[in-house]
Symmetry: C2
DNA sequence: CGGGTATTTGACGATTCTCAAATGGTGTGG
DNA sequence: CCACACCATTTGAGAATCGTCAAATACCCG
């Protein structure tokens, strides 16, 4: 299968991403060195490695995580189409986390050495890259607030609202549901909960008629109540650049 | 008191910060529009506001936090000399968190409108800005892992090791101790623990001869054991650019 | 000396964890 | 086509970490 031309990139059309000028499209086409297609379970970036590549998720879902010395795993966040990853190794020399493909994924590949060229030749895109980093920072801060201050029910409600928001924005919603092909263990590791407690909390949300997550599909049955439980004030999904 | 000239900036000499070229020093001198000196307790940036300014901490310590709808406060991180803050409002239009001065602080002030100029005229500094954001992202990821996977003792041990590391790097250590003029409530809010439990855990660390935090001074009595408890593998403090 | 704030301590309760095992679905090989 | 292995989900029970409530103590400053 041939590589998707940036001109025809399906992600560009989405409302969460800032628009491209035609110059930017042309530049990205040169910046993009190829496409990577991986099977579920593949490790795309590995903690401690020194990846020479940066990626934008074109399709599919992934998991970003670290493993502590006692073997426990923390999922830092999930990767959705449009997410950019690999900056850390690109700028800091070494990956501090791993990224696995959860579903089959297609990624746009960029070369680390070209990053500096981007900064010199295309300040608009450099600015966007910082913007992307700032947006990421914002979400990580919100995650910290969730792990620190929300109880199990609130955490799951928060995760569901945010995940749905992002997947809808990525154009992946089907009716009232979005695809969420993770295991309960993945969500547990993301929210700092045990698998058992996650399972029981999910059941209570389901019987309360708030949200149903089954067979890799998340259905939000009552968004307003869920957002209220999650202590989220409704806001538009954060606009951001697409790399 | 006159503003510190970037040429004479005391932070530049520190090993954690990447070196400046003389061109960069000159550019920063122009970019810097002034200095802000604030008393303890002052709110420097406020959640929801649209600050036109960016800051580098020149001296003093601060607290970055958000408040949930139920009134609970999450301290996202502490601000130390050399930290850069305000990018979020600069790029995303609105602050998603607040920053308070804990001690008296002096901040280098930059104008948001000049940010774009920086990207066009000085790609090296633009690159550094992204680098700073990536380093910040890394620390937030580590914080998420702490809140999600470490218990109370491990969290405090982790915080102490990291904080000491950073304050030593900032040149603030006095013998075996570093200044840490926060309240126990601040640490509790940073680590997602209750004040009471934080207090009891601190006491147990003290009686175990690991660390003593008293009168705004943190003394690490046994760094090796503390790092082991914290599940931290010893590494050099992360090098980063200074803005 | 009195008010305000931070720290400390005790007691109790509950959210959440660990251990353990059952259930259910899927794919492979006999 | 069934048996079996493997994996994810589900359920139960007991334990423990941690939170909340309450109050005492200590410290600082006017």
């Amino acid at each position: 299968m041939p590589s998707v031309s940036c001109k025809d990139c399906p992600l560009r059309k989405l409302d969460i991403f800032t628009p491209f000028s035609s110059d930017e499209v042309k530049f990205m086409q040169v910046f993009k060195t190829g496409e990577l297609k991986v099977d579920p379970g593949t490790t795309i970036l590995m903690e401690g490695s020194n990846s020479p590549q940066l990626y934008t998720v074109l399709s599919g879902l992934g998991t970003r995580y670290t493993t502590l010395e006692n073997g426990r795993r923390q999922v830092i966040n999930f990767l959705f189409p449009g997410d950019f990853t690999g900056l850390q190794a690109g700028l800091m020399g070494e990956m501090k986390h791993s990224v696995d493909a959860t579903t089959e994924m297609t990624l746009c590949v960029f070369r680390r050495e070209d990053l500096w060229t981007l900064y010199r030749q295309f300040p608009e895109r450099a600015y966007d890259l910082t913007w992307i980093a700032a947006v990421e920072e914002h979400f990580l801060g919100e995650t910290i607030a969730s792990l620190g201050q929300r109880d199990a029910t609130q955490r799951i409600a928060w995760a569901f609202v945010r995940i749905r928001e992002r997947l809808v924005a990525a154009g992946l919603s089907k009716g009232n549901a979005v695809p969420l092909p993770y295991r309960q263990q993945d969500l547990a590791d993301a929210l700092g909960l045990s698998l058992v407690h996650t399972n029981k909390t999910l059941n209570s949300l389901r019987s309360a008629g708030l949200a149903t997550w089954r067979d890799g599909q998340l259905t939000i049955d009552n968004l307003a109540s869920l957002a209220e439980i999650a202590l989220i004030d409704p806001e538009r999904p954060q606009i951001r650049p697409l790399m």
